[in-house]
Symmetry: C2
């Protein structure tokens, strides 16, 4: 019973389709009518199914439905919605594609979920300046489809086909970050509706440039703020030239250490690897089954190189020398788009391949990031702890960044197992902190890592973050219960 | 007389070695003794010569001396100094190498200048993790000398041998930014003494990682804050592998447009150029004279490429095709270190070469940055305006970033000319804003661009910045009169 209670405290139970029956503040009929007056009645819903759909993301956190969902059509409506909620003290939860992994959209205090996906214009594209302005309804894949013929692309790739503004809000990254950086590096400007409805352009209205030294970096402040400081209604993003040619590869290693050593040596040799992903033997086994691969069941690197034909040849040759020096085997190069796509689809489906190991179970992903020199130590430690815990887990990692995910299977009806998952994840977070790392490389703090954040940034860091929150959201209405 | 008054308002007169006799609050004997009690009496000075030396940077802004200069030896002393000043309402001005260009160290309200250069340790170096922790006394060149044998370097290069913590404070960049980014991209963590003496580690004490999504980006907030939010007492920086080989080159163009077109085309072709600098014909003439070069007196690009021998060969070949397509001439490649050094020394001495055109005159540098597609337009416009203004000016630019400097010669005794320089610089700033750019790409706002900052970020942006200032520096003591 004690375990059950603790699991409930973590917001885990029940995490299936049933929604929380925790006390909700509810919205008056007058308030719902006021929402309708802003966006039009077809764009407001209080239906249970709609609220449930908006009360959870792809994580194991249980559903916390908002009291109402609204679909604004433009930034002016967002502004008016914010001002309305502000005046009435109603919480606001911004919603993009709902593909987050830290419960970021859970409406812990009810309130109004602002689904921004009807704002889906690519407002402008400046190919010569390598920049684009997108609204929240534009996803990563939609943007890259739009860009297909102009020789540019947006490389940040968290796997899910997420909203780009949502990716800015969570500070997302993914498999390409080792070469192209994260959202922090690729957002030039943001249009933000502040909690009271005022419109802020973090780098000045309509501006886009490669660099600036003008005043405080407001763009950087809102990237990764997880919807707790305002609603992002458009993002100006940095684009990159489409690689002339691409080669993917996999190779197996005798140990975790050998795979990580190869990674460090490639970075030291300045091989501009575009992706370098680690999968442990459990994950490889799952991927072989799920994606019909025939890879060695061993610690494996998935690699991708971008460049001219000539540059690629050299990169590949260097990578091969380094990996072979570290006793890699089962090299498999994939040059053709189809074969590359098969490999990377398998990598991106790792989550589903893992879940397929135990139908009916749910998954949870840790997200620590450590200095790369500490990666072998923490990976080996994690695998030992996993064994000792009796949990089923597998590891995938953006090793070039020192960031990895331990995916855990859990029976949603087993409170004791839920508790073990929680304990395991927290211990892993603390281990990363002890190794001078961070509890989250890319998923964000969300609901579950607030305690770890405190330990990570210390009392003055936390106090400064709390001051920022109070300064920008004095009534505490923006996505309450997240981050802090 | 009206002109003279306006020039004084801009803080320009007198800008030579005489210090301002504007009213200063002065410090009581007791307060100076309290400073001595913190850092030891040899590390406090109220001598006029010392105060004058600390009252100006390398810009044309006139000297505003502090009331006292202190040299703390460690972070604990910095903390106690801040707490002391905070309790007594005395202004603090952080001082590194004094190589800024926007009057950032001018003590506009007197107060205590905190010279941080006695804190000059490289606290730790983590070669495998590509990171280093430096104190404010460590300059860019000192760090790179220290790194010489470990295969790594710190690429951000503003020209001056500035303090790295000072570079973080001003959000510096320079010639390598097109490939390696600015300080915004290369600072991992900062140790900051807040105005009341509390110690903040922006990313958590001792932490260093490639990426994080943990809470609000405090590191980003302090990079570029120009000493107005706290004193940076150490910086954790991202290092990069030393290039295997380097080639430099110059080539002349028939027009500004042709030089910029070449730049855009190289970026579009993903040629990973490490530096791409534009110098106009006036500047080339000055460099030829000053640095004994024999370059064509025409719009010119200075280029540098980093990579393996094989990669370089391809980069050079591509660059040559692109530049020749744009009718470049007078190609000159420099492979040997000595010859490269001669070229880049000439580029970095451009400022002095320019000043040498008119001995006794002073220089002022503008710093706008625009979307690269607007660069030809604003460069041509600037040259026309320069001609019409009767001022002597030359242009150097980090064209890969859309950032350029118009250097202006001015007779320090000619109030009317000073006013023309001011008017010219403000008009150029507004032109950049109209083209959706920024009034400062890398020098910062300092004293002179506060009005332009307001126009750039708009009322809500400015209000948000003011809120940040009040939140972190409620008594307004940190480097008053700068940025806002």
């Amino acid at each position: 019973m004690a375990l059950l209670l603790r699991a409930v405290t973590w917001g885990l139970l029940p995490w299936r389709s049933h929604c929380s029956s925790a006390p909700q503040r509810g919205l008056s009929k007058g308030f719902v009518e006021a929402l309708e007056a802003v966006v039009g009645s077809p764009h407001v819903s209080t239906a249970a199914a709609v609220r449930e759909h908006h009360g959870r993301d792809e994580s194991m956190y249980r559903c916390h439905p908002p009291d109402a969902v609204v679909w604004p059509q433009n930034v002016d409506q967002v502004s008016r919605l914010a001002a309305l909620c502000y005046s009435q003290g109603v919480a606001i939860i911004p919603f993009g594609t709902g593909t987050g992994l830290e419960g970021g959209v859970c409406a812990l205090q009810g309130g109004v979920c602002v689904n921004l996906t009807h704002m889906d214009r690519i407002r402008e594209l400046n190919p010569e300046d390598f920049s684009v302005v997108v609204e929240p309804g534009v996803t990563r894949k939609a943007l890259n489809t739009h860009l297909r013929d102009c020789g540019l692309w947006f490389p940040v790739d968290p796997g899910a086909d997420a909203s780009l503004c949502g990716m800015a809000a969570t500070g997302a990254s993914g498999t390409n970050a080792v070469r192209y950086g994260t959202m922090r590096d690729n957002v030039i400007n943001l249009e933000v509706v502040l909690p009271d409805g005022r419109l802020l352009h973090t780098a000045g209205q309509g501006r886009h440039f490669k660099k600036t030294a003008a005043g405080y970096n407001l763009t950087g402040l809102f990237v990764g703020s997880e919807g707790t400081l305002g609603l992002i209604t458009s993002a100006t993003l940095r684009l990159h030239p489409t690689p002339e040619a691409t080669v993917a590869a996999t190779c197996a290693f005798p140990s975790v250490q050998a795979a990580v050593d190869s990674t460090v040596q490639m970075l030291q040799a300045a091989v501009p690897v575009a992706r370098i992903e680690f999968l442990d033997e459990v994950m490889m086994d799952a991927c072989n089954r799920y994606s019909k691969l025939n890879c060695s069941v061993a610690p494996t690197l998935f690699l991708e190189f971008h460049g001219s034909e000539q540059a690629l040849a050299e990169q590949l040759q260097r990578a091969e020398v380094i990996t072979q020096h570290n006793r890699a085997s089962h090299f498999s190069w994939a040059k053709e788009a189809e074969e590359r796509s098969r490999l990377w689809t398998a990598r991106h489906n790792a989550w589903y391949a893992f879940l397929a190991l135990a139908p009916g179970f749910k998954g949870y992903s840790t997200d620590v990031c450590v200095p790369i020199s500490k990666l072998p130590e923490i990976l080996v430690h994690t695998k030992e702890k996993l064994k000792a815990s009796g949990l089923t887990g597998a590891i995938v990692g953006h090793v070039g960044d020192g960031n990895f995910h331990c995916l855990l299977l859990v029976n949603p009806d087993d409170a004791e197992e839920l508790q073990r998952v929680k304990t395991f994840a927290e211990e892993l977070g603390r281990r990363a902190l002890a190794l001078r790392g961070t509890c989250t490389g890319e998923h964000g703090i969300g609901m579950g890592k607030r305690q770890l954040l405190q330990e990570e940034v210390g009392p003055v860091g936390l106090e400064t973050m709390q001051q920022l929150k109070v300064m920008l959201d004095p009534r505490g209405l923006m996505n309450p219960g997240k981050v802090l």
